[in-house]
């Protein structure tokens, strides 16, 4: 049995976009084709990424905006196909990338749990068995039978986290989930992630929150313009990354607070 849960071999992802972004209308496309004014721009999101992650390890991916962090996660999940190289994942994967994916605001919390379960590839019976656990963790109480448009943002996010982490998977892929809810709830989240680690689940996560990555992950990988700048113990990598950011910016600043996470919760 191979000891590596996640293995990236020279993974590159390139795509072509028309130079002014995606052409959005057929009319424009036709005119440009006819007048031969079609220019393409190559976007290189990942550029030869190679790394191996042993089973049961927790790896946090850091890097500036647009460094390819989310792309890397999406290649691992199979949402994007690389244009070069191979990514191999050994073990069952929880395919959810962002919290709240597929939430339907007209439906109740309960209905959304069942729908999200289907999205995660789990049976209705399986999800029904977990509902109480999810409601309990998300602290929703009787709100579970109200449409989620009546929820507060905090409640939606808590529900999303509870659903995404009520899984039996060998590999968990998480995008921006560490800064969820208030401090008390964050503590609960961290405890749950720690439980996963104890169970031997391999976790790959992306976050802007360096502080949280340092706390949660043993390993970190630093991406810079689609290339691996370094991989090793989380604290060291984060330190290197901070130094680099400070150098680039001229002053040392807290990059941990650079942007608020987007949970992707849209109707």
């Amino acid at each position: 049995m191979n000891a590596f849960s996640i293995e990236f071999e020279d993974v590159a992802l390139e795509y072509r976009l028309s130079s002014e972004g995606a052409i959005s209308t057929f009319k424009e496309w036709a005119i440009r084709k006819l007048t031969r004014r079609m220019e393409y721009r190559r976007v290189r999101a990942l550029d030869g990424v190679s790394f191996k992650l042993e089973a049961g390890r927790t790896l946090g991916v850091v890097g500036h905006n647009g460094a390819g962090k989310s792309t890397l996660l999406r290649v691992a999940a199979g949402i994007l196909q690389p244009s070069r190289g191979i990514a191999t994942m050994r073990g069952s994967m929880a395919p959810i990338i962002e919290l709240g994916t597929g939430f339907e605001f007209e439906l109740t919390g309960r209905e959304n749990i069942l729908f999200n379960g289907a999205l995660l590839g789990r049976s209705r019976a399986d999800m029904k068995a977990r509902i109480d656990d999810i409601v309990d963790f998300a602290e929703l109480g009787e709100f579970i039978d109200s449409p989620i448009r009546t929820y507060s943002t905090g409640m939606v996010v808590r529900l999303a986290f509870a659903i995404a982490t009520t899984v039996d998977a060998d590999i968990l892929l998480l995008d921006e989930v560490l800064s969820v809810g208030d401090q008390r709830f964050q503590k609960k989240c961290n405890e749950r992630i720690a439980q996963f680690r104890e169970k031997g689940v391999t976790i790959l996560l992306v976050s802007h929150d360096l502080e949280a990555i340092g706390k949660t992950c043993e390993l970190a990988l630093w991406l810079d313009h689609g290339r691996v700048r370094g991989m090793g113990p989380a604290r060291e990598i984060i330190e290197d990354y901070r130094d680099w950011v400070a150098q680039v910016n001229g002053t040392r600043m807290d990059v941990g607070a650079d942007s608020s996470p987007d949970f992707g919760i849209h109707a």
Binding site: M1, N2, V11, A12, Y15, L17, A22, I23, S24, T25, F26, K27, W29, V43, R74, V75, A76, A77, G78, I79, L80, Q81, P82, S83, R84, G85, I86, A87, T88, M89, R90, G91, S92, M93, P95, I96, I97, E98, T101, G102, E104, E106, L107, E111, L114, F115, A118, L119, L120, G121, S123, R124, D170, D175, G264, H266
Partner: protein
Amino acid sequence: MSEAALQPVFVNDAKHRVKTLEELRDLAAHAHLLQTLVQRDITVRYKRSFIGFFWTMLNPLLLMIILTIVFAHIFKFEGIQHYAVYFLSEYLVFGFFTQTTVQSMTSLAWNGGMMKKVRVPKSIFAISTTLSGLVNLCLAYIPLFAIMIFQGAPIKATVLFLPVAFLIIGAFTLGVSFFLSALAVYFEDVSHMYQVATLGLMYMTPIIFPISIIPQKYLWVIRINPLTHLFKLARDPVYLGQLPAAHVLQASIVSALIALVVGWFVFHRMSRNFYHYL
């Protein structure tokens, strides 16, 4: 060794090209998601408004009243008994076709966010839209049968052919949905252009009027229009109380298969780059 054999391995290789068979298998593995998507479509549609459910019933009824007044009393098409039944027996499937194809475009764009975050077979959205459209279509037959009873139009056993008609019309609709929804990801104006086109389609198909009023020189337009044959599959068993003629059935099956195969491959080919456009 045995543990390694049990462990699922997922390989995301740049050189791999997804084949049709593989995608079909993937779809089969997501049958539960498909069922849930259809259920969600239907619940969301009927949930909030009490009128939602009745609207599906009311819509054809109101249309019938308007069109019966206009065409049965003002324009007076010769030789059409039970005009409302004549019109609705075909208009319902036409409505299913246009609504489903239009919705498949928005559904793919709407669920685009989801596709960027979870690995799901992309064709699942067109399929679920078509299936929920079929459920609504079946519901829309309740008021039609009510009108038939009310007007004293005979309901023959040939209506049992309807499921077969729905299957063929559904396959054609799905094929067109595949094609249009893939195009709509790249070009947002496709949906507007198509809505205009559906108006044209309505007049290229004998839905409102009998085929007999068409001048000889334009008849070919109606004849080459696959919708003419497809929708006849639904009208004949209900309005005429006859099974559709063999050549109508053949033409319908052939056009449904062509639409499905072409639509599938166009979608399949174009879906590779969806991510960057959604």
